[in-house]
Amino acid sequence: MIKKILITDENIDFLLKIEELSDQIITRCDQCGVCSGSCPLVSEMDITPSQMMRMVQLGQKEIMDSKTMWICASCYTCTVRCPRGLDPSKVAESLRQLRLRQGLDHINIKNIPKDEIEILPQIALVSAMRKFTS
């Protein structure tokens, strides 16, 4: 269903917050799509990284319900290829932190299956905790 969006500066504070957290001038992104084309996990995402940048640019808070920033594996392929020298991985991290800092963990560590825990190396557990819990 095609949605109408209001291009007003009302939701500029969302953009400013993400720009401050990620230390990126997000309005500089000109939507060339290289980050989406480079992302190894883009097929798992509901919206592509370039669309994520676009929604932040327009201050659309619905981005917080998307799972894109949770699929990001911080592999920095987009970082080394962005022609504008921006860093989408930092924008994804800022979106995650916006949720995590409200104390809402993304995964419930207690119900990670026991047989999984047995084989997972510490580097996996520690990294996952860092990215998915507050």
């Binding site: 560590i109 207690k110 084989i119 510490q122 905790m129 819990t133």
Partner: protein, 259 residues
């Protein structure tokens, strides 16, 4: 002015004053006998108490009855954890009420019990490896090694070090570093990653004791053999055959430390 006087005492004199103050102060000594007084704030309410008491005895002097939040009174049961702030300092410090002297202007509150959830497990059925620990306490992986727990520990243990050793699977180090832990909960209260360090250390100490140290507990085994050989049967029969009065008499005259 009063506070100045306390500061200049040399340690020897301090020991004597504690000894004098520890005389059964609670039992109705007149105010005139007390030489030095301090004001402390228990949960915000001011009380004038003799200068040299521990927080525990000072609170009792102020009229508090301890149902919980007190145990061995000797600093090893971890029951009387307290959070306090000295006058003029910004830091919230923590320690055992029975081991910390009161100071003038001290603001304090007791945290008698830390509601942490201890995992239930049967140590016999657990394997001796790192994943067992992560199975019961996955949050261990959240440790950011910021060392806040070490600063909170009244026993001055290197708490962060034993947590890191746990992640590394160096159970021997965990056991040794956490041996003196009195499970007072103060580290868990301060941890930004919301770990319960002492429960984790307890699990590791049990695993290490059971599988890791490889040394058998000789005196325990010796004692068990003696019991099985019936060394104490004769004495046991004697006690079990006593009447209630004899038992009470025996109990009253028992040898124990002074009040």
């Amino acid at each position: 002015m009063e506070e100045e006087k306390n500061k200049r005492l040399d340690p020897q004199e301090v020991m004597e004053r504690i000894a004098a103050a520890s005389k059964p102060m609670v039992a109705g000594v007149e105010d005139k006998d007390v030489e030095y007084w301090v004001t402390i704030y228990i949960m915000g309410r001011a009380y004038k108490v003799p200068a040299d008491l521990t927080i525990l005895t000072a609170m009792e002097y102020a009229g508090y009855k301890f149902i919980r939040g007190c145990g061995c009174r000797q600093g090893f049961c971890g029951g009387c954890s307290t959070v306090y702030r000295k006058k003029g300092e910004y830091k919230l410090q923590s320690g055992m009420a029975c081991q910390t002297r009161v100071e003038d202007g001290m603001y304090l509150v007791q945290i008698p019990f830390v509601p942490a959830e201890k995992a239930s497990y049967d140590i016999n059925k657990e394997e001796y490896n790192v994943s067992t620990m992560f199975k019961y306490y996955p949050e261990l992986a959240r440790c950011v090694s910021c060392n806040t727990c070490t600063k909170a520990c009244p026993q001055k243990l290197e708490v962060m070090d034993y947590v890191q050793a746990a992640i590394k699977g160096d159970f021997k180090a965990v056991a040794e570093l956490s041996f003196d832990c009195i499970q007072c909960g103060l580290c868990a209260l301060r941890c930004p990653a919301e770990l319960v360090q002492y429960d984790i250390a307890q699990l590791v100490r049990r695993m290490y004791g059971r599988y890791g140290s490889g040394k058998e507990p000789e005196h325990l085994l010796k004692r068990i053999k003696e019991i099985e050989e019936g060394k104490f049967n004769q004495e046991m029969d004697k006690i079990t055959s006593l009447t209630r009065e004899d038992l009470e008499k025996l109990y009253a005259e028992r040898e124990r430390e002074p009040d």
